[in-house]
């Protein structure tokens, strides 16, 4: 039985004459409308949150400007912005898909939002789809802003935009899986602390602003397997080096995406 099959006056939107205010007229909205509404709400909640904006916009923008203008880290030959911009884009993806999503979802769970929506007509898969769309909308805004700043700093990007899009999407999938895994298994406060700590560690060790070649060789091979290193190295190979699709990095990101999303799907607790 579909929800609308029980609707006493389908498509009317009104109610029969003489009926009271609360006379039942149950039925779910079309799923596309639900997803759209949920995406809009999730995005508004994200953009309204000051801490989230600090993480997703202000920190990446500041790092980009600071490290491009001041020669703090040896970024190798060429303009430092050409090295930094791809790393900062990777950081932006991580800040939204992983850190921001983990913290927001952790608190949604804690405040019973996921539970309450679970009793609404919105199916769980549609809620997750809306969360993903909201992450992608935020990333588009971040990438647009950071690209403008980088271009103003003299950035000259190369490469195939489709390869960049593929890397960003795979990176988003990998980080979303890890973020949701954390949010769905830990307490909200633990998620808050852990997500920020991981953000900081990956910022330093993931080839975002410090080239991974600066680390000892044994450490390097491990760092290379991190999703952030794969994303920043991959983006750098395309945008700085003009390479085609960096298949090694793609493979690392795909593996993280499968592992993270699979574990999240299995272990996520809604209450």
């Amino acid at each position: 039985m579909t929800p609308t099959a029980t609707d006493p006056h389908p498509g009317s939107g009104g109610r029969p004459p003489g009926a009271g205010t609360f006379t039942p007229a149950p039925g779910a909205a079309p799923v596309s409308r639900m997803i759209l509404a949920q995406t809009a709400l999730e995005t508004r909640m994200l953009l309204r949150n000051g801490e989230q904006l600090l993480l997703t916009v202000i920190i990446p923008a500041l790092l980009l400007v600071l490290f491009s203008a001041v020669d703090i880290v040896d970024t190798g030959a060429g303009k430092s912005v050409d090295f930094l911009a791809p790393g900062i884009l990777a950081l932006a993806v991580m800040s939204t898909a992983f850190t921001g999503q983990a913290i927001a979802t952790g608190f949604d769970r804690r405040y019973g939002v996921l539970k309450r929506l679970g009793a609404s007509p919105l199916p769980r898969w549609a809620l997750m789809a809306a969360k993903t769309l909201s992450v992608l909308v935020t990333e588009v805004l971040q990438i647009a802003l950071l690209t403008v700043i980088a271009l103003a700093l003299g950035w000259s990007p190369h490469g195939d935009p489709l390869a960049v899009a593929a890397l960003v999407l795979l990176g988003t999938a990998a980080f979303s899986g890890l973020g949701l895994l954390m949010a769905g298994t830990l307490k909200a406060e633990a998620t808050l602390a852990a997500a920020n700590l991981v953000f900081l560690l990956l910022l330093v060790g993931g080839g975002v602003i410090v080239p991974t070649e600066k680390f000892p060789e044994g450490v390097q091979s491990v760092l290379g397997l991190l999703p952030i290193s794969a994303l920043s190295d991959g983006l750098r190979a395309v945008l700085q080096g003009g390479a085609g699709v960096p298949w090694g990095d793609v493979a690392v990101l795909a593996a993280w995406a499968v592992l993270g999303l699979g574990a999240a799907a299995k272990l996520f607790r809604w209450e």
Binding site: T6, F22, A119
Partner: protein
């Protein structure tokens, strides 16, 4: 519309680890009725309601809501029910009207949000984030979210907990209106007066079982006998009074000159006692009827105070 019950629970068992929260519970809720699930904290009220809402999977027994299995047929059931959780359920940064408007968008024929906002006095919440609303405002928003989709059946988990008397009465008024418009309401409470005021049917729950079920009047009459007390001169002939009274009624003189009649105290019994007094030249200096409340019924059934 069919006469199938809105909710039918048979032998429900739900355990959390070693603790049995619900222990063989049976409950039937008639369509169009207001049913109060009454019991002390920890009696299993919330677990029972949350099983009906599809949040919990029964360890044993069956639950049917509007004829559907709440877990297996959740997709068909959810658009038809409204849910008010005991607390939370709203984004901490969302505004009251924003959240309500969002919930409305998830349904095919929602109520007019502006009218509902006005009705529940949520207009004054303005741009305040949910986490900064007062407890009463949060409760009213949760209630509004439960009814905005024009459901057939509404579950309200302690809808008036923490409300001031005025807000409580406003909530009662809304429940009465829902009933008048044909919405079936299941609410949990540990307030006797709430159950007496609102409910067509009351199910008293203790330790995970329904220990009494019926209308408030039936429960007050059936569970505990009522008492009629009068005072007169000492050592009246109670034997002749007992002969005049229906079977099963008792009469005693616990202290000299104070008489107690216990049984099914109705107008006929009162008339019988009065005419017996007239025949014996007794002028009672006081006469009172003590009606048992649900509170007494509960105490009698469980030996516990309701709010313990």
């Amino acid at each position: 519309m069919s006469n199938d019950p809105a909710v039918e629970i048979r032998g429900l068992v739900k355990r959390y680890g070693p603790k049995t929260a619900v222990d063989g519970l049976d409950l039937t809720v008639r369509k169009g009725s207001v049913t109060a699930v009454l019991g002390p904290n920890g009696a299993g009220k919330t677990t029972t309601v949350e099983t009906c809402e599809g949040y919990r999977r029964p360890d044993a027994g069956t639950v049917r809501v509007l004829g559907l299995d709440p877990v297996a047929e959740a997709g068909a059931l959810r658009p038809r029910i409204g849910v008010m959780l005991q607390s939370g359920g709203v984004y901490s940064g969302a505004r009251a009207v924003e959240m309500l408007r969002h919930m409305a968008k998830l349904y095919a024929h929602p109520l007019d949000v502006d009218a509902l906002v006005e009705r529940l006095g949520l207009g004054g919440c303005g741009r305040t984030a949910y986490r900064r609303l007062s407890g009463g405002q949060q409760q009213r928003l949760a209630l509004a979210m439960a009814v905005v989709g024009r459901p057939e059946l509404v579950f309200l988990d302690e809808p008036t907990a923490g409300l001031d008397p005025q807000a409580r009465r406003a909530t009662w008024e809304l429940v009465r209106e829902l009933r008048a418009d044909g919405v079936c309401v299941v609410l949990t409470t540990h307030h006797m007066d709430e159950a007496e005021q609102l409910a067509d049917e009351v199910a008293i729950i203790d330790a995970g079982r329904v220990i009494a079920h019926g209308s408030p009047e039936q429960l007050c009459r059936g569970g505990a006998e009522n008492t009629l007390r009068f005072t007169g001169r000492p050592a009246l002939d109670l034997g002749s009074l007992l002969k005049a009274l229906p079977d099963g009624t008792e009469a005693a003189e616990p202290t000299a000159g104070v008489y107690r009649v216990t049984g099914d105290v109705d107008p006929q019994l009162l008339a019988t006692v009065a005419s017996w007094c007239a025949q014996h030249g007794v002028m009672p200096s006081s006469l009172s009827v003590e009606r048992h409340t649900l509170e007494d019924v509960f105490l009698e059934l469980t030996g516990k105070e309701l709010r313990a």
